[in-house]
Symmetry: C3
């Protein structure tokens, strides 16, 4: 274990730590964004969430789905599906002792692609902008996974 860890450069780990935290914070902000749309558009999933409304008739109307809310929720789920694998594989990748410049390139491209992905999703930018940003992020994760598997394969 110690050997594995010594292979890694301290700077690579600090860079990983910084970019991983930034991209997780971006993901966490999707929840307040969903809450914002829910409150401003008065669209809720749980009966108890309509507590601020007194009128029973109005309460019922609030329990529906809304295109904008569902859009933000899909974007959030896509973040979970892509950002968490990046962080997990990125952690293992950082311990394989990559070049700092190569590692930074991976981390920066990924974080950039995911920020663009969110903008493209929430602002309904014309395709294939969103699709391409998703592919770029996926490619970064696959590239890091390739290094992890080729550096220390142990089956």
């Amino acid at each position: 274990m110690a050997e594995v860890l010594h292979m890694a450069d301290e700077k690579v780990f600090l860079a990983f730590s910084t970019y991983a935290t930034i991209v997780i914070l971006k993901m966490l902000l999707m929840a307040p964004l969903t809450a914002y749309f829910r409150v401003t558009k008065k669209v809720f999933a749980n009966p108890e969430d309509t507590w601020m409304e007194k009128n029973a008739e109005e309460k019922k109307k609030m329990l529906r789905t809304d295109a904008d809310v569902e859009r933000v929720r899909r974007c959030h789920l896509n973040d979970l599906e892509n950002i968490i694998p990046f962080v997990l594989i990125g952690l293992l990748y950082s311990l394989t002792g990559p070049e700092l410049s190569t590692a930074l390139l991976h981390f920066r491209v990924f974080v950039g692609s995911r920020i663009f992905h969110t903008v493209a999703y929430v602002a309904c930018l014309p395709q294939p902008s969103r699709g391409l940003s998703w592919v770029v992020g996926l490619a970064v994760t696959f590239s890091m996974a390739y290094r992890v598997l080729t550096t220390g394969l142990f089956l």
Copy 2:
């Protein structure tokens, strides 16, 4: 890397390891809870899941959505959205060498807030109980992310 790791206190890491495992186990229990509601209420998402029923008519009726099942599923998804970022950022936070008492405060408040969140969600407690527990958990994660970014920013 070694330097980064030596900054961290062994006790902080053991505390992180303990609380992270507890809160992940709590999250994992949402799946059996969903299964329990599915089986007792006879509500399934896949045709092959109705295998125990022989009557074709009855089988079809089981393929529907149910308010209670959807509630547990939303709670589970909310766990994924909040608990996994806590564990990932908490791991990086543990390596920044925080005070043991400060770290324990973060871990305990988060785990407490998420257990309360689950109770509030599944038992339909009146709002804003669930909302507040969600905000408390989010605040803990943001506080740890702040420390990670201020201790070892490397862009």
Copy 3:
């Protein structure tokens, strides 16, 4: 911290790194599989995703849900709910210094169970094949969590 890490065997960590990467890659492939079903069956969730179709009438028809697409999406969500906890608890487990053979048994059974789970889900194999593979994976994660909590409990 150093003490914690020295407890672990380098080979156990490399084995964890290998199996974790493989099972995360498997999870990541669910997204292209969803995209494949969406494109071939012409079923989309966002209006802008129908950009390749010019006819406005046809575009509208593409915005629906489809049983096969929803099946792959449920399989993907199930992966998120099970594979990520495995990787997170597996990381902590690898640092508790388990026997290499025991660790390999855990990792291999989990990865095997999840690959079988995906096949069973996407190919609609008769139950309880999918249910059993899910339970096996869950049991592996619980077994690792048990070791983490009994080796270094710090509340």
